[in-house]
Symmetry: C2
Subunit: 186 residues, 2 copies
């Protein structure tokens, strides 16, 4: 019972972190701002986490779990539908909150060259996405699914990164179809 | 004569900024650290620039000028040689100092969602690179050179970004050939 309660509390902290990151970005994030997003005080957070970095590392693990769960749910889709679903989510199509989170995650990723523990988590996320994407591409009959998946992931990251940092020079609205055309699925 | 001297001084400050950025990254950059890279004191820098942001904006303009000059020099190459040259430079192949600068520029780019003046400069850099790349692709007989160039630029940014933030999960050594294969040049 105590364990269940603790689990619920950690879950609430993760939700609050998600909200606070989407709202403030990473650089301006503080434990106080996370506490503002839920009804318990800062002390509850400090009871579970040493500092902002410790909390962020757990948050990244939490994201990996969420992705795994989410992708598991999509495995009953038809192959092309599953690919569309993957690309839409990765490109944050029509999802403002997800887009804001992506922006914050991008900021966090740029700490990775100077923070080994962050780099390890982002490597794990990339490896997970690569495996999943290669599987989906194989189901869609794409040749060299691993190499193609690596390129598609780079296109997705490059497109979102360029869009975010050039005041929308890049248009993502037809990016999904452009990517599919490039890999021979039309 | 006075103008020449001023120009030389600004040029020296730009060189020092390049060195300091490659060495310390963007977040840890300070006017002091830039001054450490050349033999004049901080006051010379403050005579020319209001603050770090003002200096960085000029540095980005300076980079654009350098790129233009550099690309102008490469326009006497054969088409495929020019493409190789573009891709090698963009991927910082065998250029440790350029790679460190790329890392710092990536940090700066992530300020762009919160800093309109940075975003404008990076947009200008992207537009310049896109124009140049489309021209090179057209010379190489690639179909839809603008759209293909946009994709190639995203692959380059995505690959370098992923490599930097995952402790080298991505291998860039054969990236040039993989990109050329993707766009039908082998």
């Amino acid at each position: 019972m105590g364990d269940e309660k603790e689990k619920k509390k950690t879950q609430d902290i993760m939700c609050a972190t998600y909200q606070a990151l989407s709202r403030h970005g990473y650089a301006d994030l503080s434990i106080q701002r996370i506490a503002d997003e839920f009804d318990k005080g800062k002390s509850v957070i400090y009871h579970h986490f040493d500092d902002k970095e410790d909390l962020m590392l757990s948050f990244l693990e939490h994201l990996i779990d969420e992705m795994e769960e989410d992708m598991h749910g999509s495995s009953e889709m038809a192959p092309e539908e599953e690919l569309d679903d993957f690309l839409d989510k990765a490109l944050c199509i029509d999802d403002k909150e997800m887009w804001d989170l992506r922006k914050a995650l991008m900021e966090m990723r740029l700490q990775a060259p100077y923070n080994k523990r962050f780099a390890e988590r982002f490597r794990k996320i990339d490896e997970f996405l690569l495996d999943k994407l290669a599987e989906i591409l194989e189901d869609n009959g794409v040749e060299n699914p691993c190499e193609t998946g690596d390129m598609v992931l780079s296109i997705i990251e490059g497109l979102t990164y360029r869009k975010m940092t050039t005041h929308d020079l890049v248009d993502l609205s037809d990016a999904r179809e452009r990517i599919k055309k490039r890999i021979g699925i039309e």
